[in-house]
Amino acid sequence: MRLRRNLTTLSFVAPLLIGIAVFFLYPLVSAVYFSFTKFDLLTVPQWVGLENYKRMADDPFLLQSVRNTLWMVAVFVPVRIISAIGLSMLLSQLKRGAGVFRTIFYLPALAPPVAATIAFVYLLKPGTGPVNTLLSHLGINGPLWFNSPDWSKPSLVLLGLWGIGDIMIIFLAAVLGVPVSLYEAAALDGANAWHRFRYVTLPTIRPVILFATITGVIYTLQYFDQAAVAGSIASGQAVTGGGISTAFGFPEGSTFTYPLWLYTVGFRYNALGYANAMAVVLFVVALAVTVILLRRSKAFSGEEQ
């Protein structure tokens, strides 16, 4: 009888369990297994122990890609969150046309990343793009944007800010969800606008900030599409027969992120063992960041620090 009931329960959970096993656990276990091998898809994997992990220490391309990715995490994540909070605060203050502005600010988030990146590179293209032409009318000598190693990453951040709609909507919901009574109480105590924001809004939306930080860090660690497309379009070799990765990282390797190197190693150099080791490290780092952030702030469990 109990067995039967257990089986019934199991049959209901089974689709989920199978899904987790097939699409999460199995790939994870095989990635870890392959990371200890030399594997090229074509021959039987050879066990090499920790070799792949050891070689990471003196791989100059890996170090470059880690530097670029860390730059993105350190700049892109905070800038995105601060801008999203700012934007949602402004939108929440609107008396009229809130719906129109919300739609306008949200729309770019719907643009496919590849199309958005191509459009951005052409808009910012020095010499022919409208942005620098406009700047020159204002007497400003515009930078080379995606063609300059110093400006390429900030340009990617700009691109990310343009498509900020997805987290802006979440912050807007959080800001609008702050109880009005709290603001009224604060106002009675003589709090000005800054005080109300600092001591009422911010603490209330902290769980959302934490959520945005964690998802933002994970997203940025996996930053791939925009960097790949921006590099190849800016290099002027958008469609070459040799495969897209010849232009990865352009200019001067400044947009060469960790996943781009992982992809190149795995699918261009056929070193899937090493690529899997890199994937495992990326997974561990993302997991560690998440755990640390969650530990530091108990916001998710609802307890106060």
């Binding site: 067995l3 199995y26 276990v29 095989s30 297994y33 030399k38 594997f39 090229d40 898809l41 074509l42 021959t43 039987v44 994997p45 070689r55 003196d58 791989d59 100059p60 391309f61 293209k125 020095p126 010499g127 022919t128 080379l144 944007w145 063609n147 300059s148 190693p149 379009i233 800016a234 290099s235 002027g236 070799q237 958008a238 469609v239 070459t240 027969g241 040799g242 495969g243 010849t246 232009a247 352009f250 200019p251 001067e252 390797g253 190149t264 190693v265 699918f267 261009r268 150099y269 056929n270 070193a271 090493y274």
Partner: protein
């Protein structure tokens, strides 16, 4: 009832399942046997290629000819298949009988791993004379003593020069040496009043269009790899010659000026190509550009010539590469596959027909004087470059293009003035190349 599996047994089962699952998706090995001479070949054969649209139609036309001359063989063609799809299919045990790839970079991997079978046995059985193949194409279709690929048309790189701009600058003909190239480049360059570049004679940046180290190596006769597959860049002084020459010209323009100028140029494979728009007067490119020029810039007056060289005695060549084809180790019908490959890569009439429709270079010596080959003087120049003993290619490596891209990354650093000591820089790049090549093993 509560059936319990002892923990020890559990882990054994888990491990066994894991191994089973993992091996299910990894390749195995298979013995190669070939038929006796004279055996009649029949059945279906599957060909995967990367062409699309007009080019795919051209291939289909030739396949039709093959089927009518070999009525017992039926060919299934799948177009638009790139290298990674072919690799995955072979790894999963379902490789197409024949793969046709645009990249010679996969030859090393496919030969060393046995993903493509060694064709020597077939070649010997059918008395195919490999000497009828262009010498450079023979280099990039074999690796480690294994001939696992055959060349399917080829590309040769030379220089294109703008005749109007040459006339305006008072230059009679194309540069033949690197020094002349520098001189002409300076004469052809026009600056704006504010000092920025308006027209560039020759854009020397190593990450500009086709102006990459591999395409310029024949200019100095530089060698990529030693015979045992290690990096040769530190040992070969030619690389230093090339880099020093290039940096000199970059500095004359000013790196920042070039960066700024390049940022405003159109995409290489669009009608806005800088050479086609007259923004760059001399450009490294291959014979396929002829078709683009005819189509997109019919009014441009241009000429083509071999790559200028450091040593005048080595003039006449350029970089050579091409499409390749081979038989998967898990081909279902390798005999028919070989029959088709033989037809496409060694039959002069077929190759002439393909060269005429795809506008790439024919690879056999027998096609060179063929009157049915549509070869205007420009195309003929590329055929001469292709046949020149001074031409060279990038040797296959088990880790594909890894060594070239590692070196290119170094040259990009070099041109932007981030390398202070050239000798130490090259030595370091040499070390990195060996390291990255050990990934492919």
């Amino acid at each position: 009832m509560n059936k319990r599996i002892p923990p020890a047994q559990k882990s054994v089962i888990a491990a066994a399942t894991a191994v089973l699952l993992l091996t299910a998706c990894t390749p195995g090995t298979k013995e190669q046997k070939i038929a006796d001479p004279g055996t009649e070949v029949s059945g279906t054969v599957e060909l995967w290629h990367f062409f699309s649209e007009r080019e795919a139609d051209a291939v289909d036309a030739v396949i039709k000819d093959f089927e009518s001359s070999h009525p017992k063989i039926k060919v299934t063609v799948k177009s638009g298949q790139d290298d990674s799809k072919v690799t995955q299919a072979i790894g999963a045990g379902n490789g197409p009988d024949i793969g046709l790839s645009y990249s010679t970079d996969i030859v090393g991997k496919f030969c060393s791993s046995g993903a493509w079978v060694d064709l020597s046995a077939y070649i010997k059985r059918d008395n195919v004379d490999l000497d009828t193949l262009n010498a450079t194409t023979r280099q990039y279709t074999e690796f480690g003593g294994k001939r696992c690929a055959m060349p399917f048309l080829a590309d040769a790189y030379g220089i294109y020069y703008n005749k109007d701009l040459f006339a305006k600058a008072g230059i009679a003909g194309p540069p033949k040496t690197l020094d002349e190239l520098t001189e002409d480049a300076k004469k052809l360059t026009v600056r704006n009043p504010d000092g920025s570049l308006k027209t560039v004679g020759y854009l020397p940046l190593f990450d500009f269009y086709e102006n990459v180290p591999s395409h310029l190596a024949p200019a100095v006769g530089a060698k990529w790899l030693t015979d045992d597959g290690k990096s040769a860049v530190a040992a070969d002084p030619a690389w230093k010659t090339l880099l020093a020459w290039q940096k000199n010209l970059v500095d004359w323009y000013g790196y920042d000026n070039l960066q700024k100028f390049r940022a405003g140029l159109g995409d290489e494979f669009s009608a806005d190509n800088a050479f086609q728009k007259g923004q760059v007067a001399i450009n490294v490119d291959a014979e396929y550009r002829l078709a683009f020029l005819k189509d997109q810039s019919p009014n441009l007056k241009y000429g083509v010539a071999p790559l200028p060289t450091s040593d005048p005695a080595k003039y006449g060549g350029g970089y050579v590469t091409g499409n390749i084809m081979g038989i998967s180790k898990n081909a279902k019908n390798p005999e028919a596959a070989w029959e088709l490959i033989k037809y496409l890569t060694t039959n002069d009439a077929t190759i002439t027909k393909l060269a005429n429709s795809l506008r790439n270079l024919p690879t056999t010596t027998g096609t060179m004087g063929d009157p049915t080959l549509a070869a205007d003087p420009d195309f003929k120049t590329f055929m001469d470059i292709f046949a020149s003993p001074n031409s060279s290619t990038t040797p296959p490596s088990a880790s594909g293009p890894a060594y070239q891209e590692t070196f290119q990354a170094f040259t990009v650093k070099w041109q932007s003035d981030k390398v202070k000591d050239l000798d130490a820089g090259i030595a370091d790049a040499d070390k990195q190349m060996n390291s990255v090549m050990s990934l492919g093993g």
